[in-house]
């Protein structure tokens, strides 16, 4: 299925899953998932709700025990993790600066550097509970960057952001990848935005339906069965727009219909 040449993936894979099967209670959420992530590549996992995307990421960070299969991490692999949602109880006073020192204390210069990289440079003294959705995500990203990760993992990191906000966020991720040279593994609902920023897309629905370069996956019959055909044009559009600067507004005027990416409209 994959368009990636096999040897590049084996050469320097940071993490590789082999026949991963995960069950919640009696339900098999993932079955026989095999994939690997090479240094420096951006891999996006797409799939309908309940397709096991978050479970896959949680398995990779070690929060979910597999029923069968193996997860192999490169020795000493540094993983930066940006969780899907972080509810901070309002009774817990926490400045952004203090948050960055959890669990391991970091120096002020290192904290400032990470905040700058994540585009949250002026937020250090703010309370976590007082941040907007976009600011909060950037702070989470900054925290994930502290360990100088070889692999950055994002679970629906743009949930709750508007479309320009999430487009800007993904552009930042790409910038971070360029600066740090880390690989990125992320999950998203926002097919067009995400696919435009990826080197490789994995289409998941309990198992790996198809994977490869974004253009390849978008035209794969398995993908179309899940998401419809609407994203192809939008993908091209975002790719195009991507080469320009930050003016995300223009994408909206083309009216490509954001709704087409959702599974319930997939019937052809």
């Amino acid at each position: 299925m994959s368009e990636m040449p096999g040897e590049t993936r084996r050469m320097s894979s940071l993490i590789s899953l082999d026949g991963l099967t995960v069950a919640h209670g009696g339900n098999t959420v993932l079955s026989g998932v095999s994939l690997s992530i090479a240094a420096g590549e951006i891999v996006t996992v797409v799939g309908p709700n309940g397709s096991g995307k978050s479970t896959l990421l949680r398995s990779v960070i070690g929060a979910q025990k597999p029923a069968r299969g193996t997860i192999r991490r490169a020795p000493g692999l540094r993983i930066g993790y940006v969780p899907q949602k972080l509810h901070i109880d309002p009774t817990l006073p926490l400045t952004v600066r203090r948050f960055l020192s959890l669990p391991d204390r970091v120096s002020d210069t290192r904290a400032a550097e990470a905040l700058e990289q994540a585009g949250a440079g002026n937020l250090a003294a703010r309370q976590m509970s007082g941040l907007s959705g976009g600011q909060f995500q950037r702070v989470l990203l900054a925290r994930a960057l502290l360990c100088n990760p070889q692999l950055l993992i994002l679970d629906e990191a743009t949930q709750g952001l508007d479309q320009p906000g999430s487009a800007a966020f993904y552009q930042r991720i790409e910038k971070v990848r360029q600066d740090l040279g880390c690989a990125v593994l992320m999950v998203s609902h926002e097919l067009h935005v995400v696919m435009a920023a990826s080197d490789r897309v994995i289409c998941l629905n309990g198992h790996v339906c198809c994977e490869g370069a974004p253009e390849h996956v978008a035209s794969a019959p398995e993908y179309r069965a899940l998401f419809g055909t609407g994203t192809q044009g939008a993908l091209a559009l975002y790719r195009h727009e991507h080469n320009h600067s930050h003016d995300h507004g223009c994408a909206h005027e083309h009216g490509h219909g954001h709704g087409k990416g959702y599974p319930h409209e997939a019937a052809e």
């Binding site: 070690g62 929060a63 993790y81 817990l92 926490l94 400045t95 391991d104």
Partner: protein, 268 residues
């Protein structure tokens, strides 16, 4: 050691010891919304008193064992069909009832039930003081050692996993600390009011704290103030000591909430 001959000095030292141990743990109880959990563990300890007296072992050991058993039972039963507050309500009140019934079976041993329900701080002896301070130091050391990991696990279990911290182990640390505090505090405020010593100083500290550490320190100071001031109040007004301590703590909470509101208004 003539100083310790004075029962009021011993009582004050006992109150300070309990306040010091309860404050930082109480912060976690507040942040993790474990108030009912603390209550259930404390209520179960009356059963521990009954068991300890009937098997002729130390009350401290009996209370510690039942509190631990209760806390692990709750953790094990959590997420198996009943909402947490229902489960805790059932366990807290039924263990209190079983404890009271068990105490009534104790023939020959005259025990002053009120002393265990509401504490008997004025009767604290040197051996009690040693147990209280030993337990308090143990709790503080435990929390100091695990502080960062505990905070991370409190924020988000997946975040903890990604940082190589097992959130279940941190939960266990809190459970042990809670059992210790209950065992230590039973002589001072009694099973019915232990949760108050955990919650009220921590809640009263919230408006004045910008970081978790500061909240714990302020809670400790407020707890000590409540313990010593409440004792004095009881002496002057000839009221029961344990409840007087909690009354003063509640007064501090009311004042701090008011001050918090005023602070907020001035800021906005």
């Amino acid at each position: 050691m003539t100083l310790l001959d004075d029962f009021l000095i011993r009582a004050a030292l006992a109150g300070i010891g309990v306040a010091l141990a309860a404050a930082p743990l109480g912060c976690f109880v507040v942040w993790r919304r474990m108030a009912y959990f603390g209550d259930a563990t404390a209520h179960a300890s009356i059963l521990g008193v009954a068991l300890a007296l009937s098997f002729d072992v130390s009350v401290f050991a009996g209370v510690l064992a039942t509190a631990l058993a209760m806390a692990t039972t709750v953790s094990a039963l959590a997420g198996r069909g009943y909402a947490m507050d229902t489960l805790l309500g059932v366990l807290a009140h039924s263990s209190l009832a079983f404890g009271l019934v068990a105490v009534s079976f104790l023939q020959g041993v005259r025990i002053d039930l009120m002393a265990y329900l509401f504490g008997d701080i004025l009767a604290v002896g040197r051996a009690d003081l040693a147990v209280i301070w030993g337990g308090a130091v143990l709790v503080l050391a435990l929390l100091w050692w695990r502080w960062s990991a505990l905070l991370t696990a409190t924020l988000n279990p997946d975040l903890a996993h990604a940082a190589g911290i097992d959130p279940r182990r941190e939960q266990m640390v809190l459970t042990i600390a809670l059992a210790l505090v209950v065992a230590v505090a039973i002589k001072v405020v009694g099973v019915l009011l232990i949760a108050a010593m955990l919650l009220i100083p921590a809640a009263a500290a919230r408006p004045f704290a910008a970081t978790p550490e500061r909240m714990a320190v302020i809670a400790g100071l407020l707890g000590m103030l409540a313990a010593t001031g409440g004792l004095q109040l009881a002496f002057v007004l000839d009221t029961p000591a344990g409840p007087s301590i909690v009354c003063l703590a509640a007064g501090l909470f009311a004042a701090s909430s008011l001050a918090g509101l005023l602070l907020q208004r001035r800021r906005s």
